[in-house]
Amino acid sequence: MTESLAIRKFSDLANPTRFLAIAERVLPWLAGLCCLLFALGLTLAFTTEGDYQQGDTVRIMYIHVPAAWLSMMCYSVMALSALGTLVWRHPLADVSHKAAAPLGAAFTLVALVTGSLWGKPMWGTWWVWDARLTSVFILFLMYLGLIALNRAMDDPSRAARVSAVLILVGFVNIPIIKFSVDWWNTLHQPASVIRMGGPTIDAEFLRPLIVMALAFTLLFFTLHIMAIRNEIWRRRVATQRRMAARLAGRGD
């Protein structure tokens, strides 16, 4: 490998070998920072006071809200990668949205499960067919459908292009999720952190929430980079196997 691994443009990241080298260097830091933030966030989450009405159950928020944010951010990352696939035809973008789909499904599942656990004591029910809950559930189904579609095709680059189209079409769901609490009068409360005119949530709850959100974001990026790296390695192994098989056939 004679070419230099220095990065001059953002597009230089697109070289898989260079990406692997950077991932090697960045991953320990990301993982370490993520662990630190989680430690800080969880400590804050368990040491701050509970809500005067909700008691200790309010602590579910520190898992539920970041997971829900991440489930949407992950889809946005996938949509950006899908654009990369379709516009620049780059294999790394293919790998990126393929690797992000299971992560997104996992975050969405966490958001749904914790929301359900929180809903039982607060709303008196595990599940309601409210606009926010339903649209997030649809997001979960879309993640699973995308994973199924990607796995159904043999040729990875064609699978990537075709699922990229579907990712972009499915992106209409993201604004629906975001604004579902404003458009419909629902049981799920409207946004209280990211809104015009500043957060309405008390600083006591906001601090652990922000730390946890940062920790979740770092967790996503750490896992995402690891998944991309594994996928690149997997493809290289597959290519080398194929080459070995071809050589073995010639040797006879």
């Binding site: 339903t134 879309m142 199924a148 159904a152 064609r158 075709v162 189209v165 579907l166 079409v169 209409v172």
Partner: protein, 219 residues
């Protein structure tokens, strides 16, 4: 374009096209419901609009996987892709043909099933009207699913899984408009107009997405 429309229509109506299977499936689904919930006419008339809508949704999904696959099997898909006409328009015409052959019969059959469900005349009319306006959206969304899975040998089930989540808004507003026509306090027009908007939105997005997928799915 007209030739393509007529060709697709003829293909789907003649033997092996499977356009009539859709109606049969629709009727069977709706006929099975009374066995499941019991033959209580009051209950049936209350859930009737929803049942007819769900039946139509499932029946509309049934023939979707054949939309581009039949063309791919005999090679005409490649000809369509190589045409000078914009591919989006070709896809739009194919969607229209599919809707006319497979979905419009469902809309026409829906009053009969409404009678089975003991629905009032107003409700039957409302369901038919909402189906007429809303079902093109199902076809346009389905075109994306069909195009995405065109190369898969057994894509039928996958198309349904991929397409159903996106169809939910259509179902929500279709059913709520149908109920609004029957029950007094809720206004009919807002959900109906939203349904129309959804159909128009997907009339733009669906063919564009399907064309993009078809170009990329080529070998």
């Amino acid at each position: 374009m007209t030739a393509l429309l007529l060709r697709d229509l003829k293909l789907s109506i003649r033997a092996g096209g499977g356009a009539l299977i859709g109606i049969l499936f629709f009727m069977t689904v709706v006929a099975v419901i009374p066995f499941g919930v019991g033959p209580d006419l009051n209950l049936l008339s209350r859930i009737g609009p929803a049942i007819v809508w769900i039946g139509a949704l499932l029946a509309a999904l049934l023939g979707l996987d054949r939309m581009f696959q039949a063309d791919r099997d005999d090679g005409s898909l490649d000809l369509l892709l190589m045409q000078e006409h914009p591919l989006v328009l070709t896809v739009l015409v194919k969607c229209l043909a599919h809707w006319l052959a497979n979905v419009l019969p469902l809309v026409i059959a829906s009053p009969l099933l409404g009678l089975f469900m003991n629905m009032s005349e107003v409700a039957i009319g409302a369901v038919m009207l909402t189906l007429l306006v809303g079902s093109p959206a199902l076809t346009f969304i389905g075109a994306v699913g069909a195009a995405v899975s065109v190369t898969l040998p057994r894509g039928g089930l996958l198309v349904s899984i991929l397409v159903l989540p996106l169809c939910i808004p259509v179902l929500i507003f279709g059913v709520s408009a149908a109920y609004a026509a029957v029950e007094d306090p809720a206004p009919f027009l807002p959900p109906f107009l939203i349904l129309t908007a959804i159909t128009m939105f997907f009339a733009v997005l669906g063919p564009a997405g399907a064309a993009l997928a078809l170009r990329n799915a080529g070998d």
